[in-house]
Symmetry: D2
Subunit: 137 residues, 4 copies
């Protein structure tokens, strides 16, 4: 296991109406999409959009997802998703997340996702240098 990078990316947006369910709250599956959008923001903010890695022939496939729900988000609520790398390995990494109410800072949801780097034909690969740097600088 390599060293852990303290860089934290944040992305803020309003909950969409389509993301609610008949309980009147955000459907629990939507946070997986919020996590993914936070990873996209992380890549953009580090100057290397995820689409670059795809063009280079790599995918960062998801091997595990875990979400804990503390308090539901509701329609139009402004929320902030924070993401950072919790663990960096030669062929993958773990991202950790915190979804908070933007104004109050109250924690709504936490979670992590584990990833493995694969080539476009599905073979596990060593992370390209551009990505490995995220764990050390």
């Amino acid at each position: 296991m390599a060293s852990v990078n303290p860089f934290v990316a944040e992305t803020t947006f309003n909950v969409r109406y389509a993301e609610t369910d008949m309980m009147g709250i955000v459907h629990h599956s939507c946070y997986i999409v919020y996590f993914e959008e936070a990873r996209s923001a992380y890549s953009r903010q580090r100057g290397r959009p995820y689409s670059e890695f795809q063009h280079l022939g790599y995918y960062l496939t998801v091997t595990e997802v875990n979400v804990r729900y503390a308090k539901p988000a509701v329609y139009d609520q402004q929320i902030t998703v924070r993401v950072w790398i919790a663990e960096m390995k030669s062929r993958g990494m773990t991202f950790q997340y915190e979804v908070v109410d933007t104004k109050t800072g109250e924690t709504l949801v936490t979670g992590y996702t584990k990833h493995v780097c694969i080539t476009h034909d599905g073979k596990v690969a060593v992370l390209p240098a551009l990505w490995r740097e995220w764990g050390t600088s």
Copy 2:
């Protein structure tokens, strides 16, 4: 305009919880997905799954969607989606849809989608023979 084929495909399923919104009904965007699933059923029932066309190098891209909402579907309701080809052209077609309550037959939603055949590099193409047959037999 070629002749219109009267073949009607039907697919029946229960509304998923995730498809509801805070109004307590199926979110209006979900019917677009139901329409698409009905097209998949149409292809399967005609013995030529859509995946075959993709493997042959074609996509049936969507150029227009129209949906009219008469009565909302709700969670767990069993619904049937009917689809048929309303118009067949050399490079595309129009599918028409009816979403009904499976038990009562009551119409919930109607609509149509227009499609153009393209190759995987995005060029408009004449429909392969396998598809053109759908308009004449």
Copy 3:
């Protein structure tokens, strides 16, 4: 038909990865959600979030959706959705939309949605004054 209001709301965001499909482009159903998010932005920008109307006991239910696809959006692309009221009636209205590439201004998708004001028990109602104003000022 009442007078048409020229107020145009704009909302800008990046395409989410989950919104793509195996064609490598944004799935056509997602634009319905983008339209809805644009309506939310419209309400916010006019100082009356849609959630207020819901709390007052109203819904703006969707009776028709139409989308025309000119050019596909792709992952991470920055897009801007423009929305304005094209027609205002006593019990409903028509919103019109334009989805463009934020940088080039190129039109990707256009469409409209028709709405009717209903109470929470499903009865058609005259639009509350707060909403009717959108058509005249």
Copy 4:
């Protein structure tokens, strides 16, 4: 911890096109929806649709989700989702899942979800007797 009920519900369906992403596989968030649909099937197969519980004034809210991805599902693939109760408590339960290829039986995804019973005003409640029975018969 109460006794564990061995009843296993199964639901089988084809992957929808809209559920794929630009990697050409089912987006990882969709399995959360498949899990939920399996719970709906579980309720139906035990003779007590989830909608009944909602009408009685209860929700089975989700407090944690965990998904492990072994092999991706693809468009049109016929998959079967198996679900059973792994743990039953007075105020909640844990469901466990297995998503397999219907024809080969190969495991694609596994996971669990934890739930707590709440009333419609959000208070934690003892599971109604109808639900508690699932853990013992």
